[in-house]
């Protein structure tokens, strides 16, 4: 299945963030909340089981100056294999001049899945973007398939964060310099002008990025613990 969806949010003359373009394409179904205000709320619903091997999904999100969008998932995503071992891919591209919070539910890398995920964000000078990713390496008792998940964010063309995480190499996943054998990896990218110092515990940290913004990272054995750390930031 190939699908591309697009969401455009802009500020109207009354100071409300309104959805100007809403183009869903199964399985990427965008459901806007019926309310009027400074923050537009849209849910991203997967209307068919996806992604399966062979699927290619892409979503573009544009938010204009002064506008605010919260884009939320509703259910965990299961990365599943296709019938003949093809790869699946998904991409989300943000073009932000306002404020965006992207809060998808966790992604579970099931065995035999072979997926590439890319998040790209272009911010202007005043844009703010907060995105979360929680990866679960296999269902309970299951070894994960392979996943490459990368994120690249720039502000006015200058790189803020560029990270790729690869899971599925048993030796590297178990290594204390890899994922320490933890089943859940959570990150939250906070690209804003808020000054946050460095903070952390045994397997989590919040750190300031070199070119502005912060990154929170948490490793854990279950989703509740990892999202608990990210929620507290």
């Amino acid at each position: 299945m190939k699908a591309s969806a697009r969401l455009v949010v802009a500020l109207d003359s009354h100071g409300n963030s309104v959805v100007r373009v809403l183009r869903s394409m199964t399985p990427l179904t965008l459901v806007p909340h019926r309310r009027v205000g400074p923050l537009a709320l849209v849910h991203l619903v997967s209307s068919v089981t996806a992604p399966l091997g062979g699927d290619s999904l892409s979503l573009t999100v544009e938010v204009g100056p002064g506008a605010s969008l919260e884009l939320r998932g509703v259910a965990a995503t299961l990365l599943l294999p296709g019938s003949s071992g093809e790869e699946s891919s998904s991409s989300v591209r943000f073009l932000v001049e306002g404020t965006v919070r992207y809060l998808p539910e966790p992604t579970v890398v099931t065995s035999r899945a072979h997926h590439t995920s890319v998040v790209e964000a272009e911010l202007d000078g005043h844009a703010q973007l907060r995105t979360r990713e929680v990866l679960v390496l296999g269902r309970v008792g299951e070894k994960p398939g392979t996943l490459s998940s990368s994120v690249r964010a720039t502000r006015c063309g200058r790189p803020l964060l560029h990270q790729q995480l690869v899971v599925g190499d048993p030796l590297a996943d178990a290594s204390s310099a890899g994922l320490v054998g933890k089943r859940v990896v959570g990150t939250e990218m906070l690209l804003d002008s808020v000054e946050r110092g460095t903070d952390g515990g045994e397997w989590w940290s919040v750190v300031p990025l070199a070119a502005g913004g912060s990154l929170a990272t948490a490793l854990g054995d279950d989703v509740v613990a990892v999202t608990g750390v990210l929620d507290a930031i």
Binding site: Q164, S205, V207, L209
Partner: protein, 202 residues
């Protein structure tokens, strides 16, 4: 070739011996305590941090813009402790290199450059620079393990010799990598916070 040998030599006076690449923190937590756990640590370090550093050394050796590479490597190094360890090692290497191999391109490096950029500029040949950088990503932690844990130097050397350093270096030359190392970042930040005696700067 000689430059690469000198840079990879533990007797090179670049200050690399004060960095353990996260090994000290991993050893303090008991995550690395014997040869098998060290092998796993070094394997993970090579495939993540080693590949990333090697890719940037290769790009600097190819003659790519050094300010661009510096900013791109910063964006790929979210942990301030890791950024400062990389720049401290770059600064130390540059100090020794200015005397040994003065050049205009060395002067074009940004202030306190990331170490892979210094290695790339000095060696000037992408594959050699990548191999040197990938090797240094594991040789420092390996020798730290001998000092901190009293492991058998012959056994540790055999582990390093069996690591796929050349394979990782050749992959690193293909495109500018962006591999992250979440656990190494967390270990590096925890190492900075750790109170009490620390033998290594990172």
């Amino acid at each position: 070739m000689l430059t690469a040998l000198i840079l990879a030599d533990s007797r090179f006076p670049g200050g690399g011996h004060v960095h353990s690449g996260g090994l000290e923190e991993a050893a303090a937590r008991g995550l690395v305590h014997d040869e098998p756990s060290l092998r796993a640590f070094l394997h993970g370090r090579l495939l993540g941090a080693g590949l990333l550093a090697a890719g940037f050394a290769a790009a600097a050796a190819r003659g790519e813009d050094l300010d661009m590479l510096d900013a791109e490597l910063d964006a790929r190094t979210p942990s301030p402790a890791q950024r400062s360890a990389s720049r401290a090692q770059g600064r130390g290497m540059l100090r020794a290199a200015r005397r040994a191999w003065p050049s205009a391109r060395l002067d074009a490096l940004p202030r306190d450059p990331h170490q892979p950029l210094v290695i790339g500029v000095l060696i000037g040949e992408p594959v050699e620079a990548a191999v040197t950088c990938a090797y240094l990503a594991v040789s420092g932690p390996a020798s730290a393990a001998v000092r901190l844990l009293g492991l058998d130097p012959f056994g540790v050397n055999a582990i390093v010799a069996a690591l796929p350093v050349e394979d990782v270096a050749s992959r690193a030359c293909a495109a500018l990598p962006a591999l992250g190392s979440p656990a190494l970042d967390l270990l590096a930040e925890a190492h900075v916070r750790r109170e009490g005696v620390r033998l290594f700067g990172s």
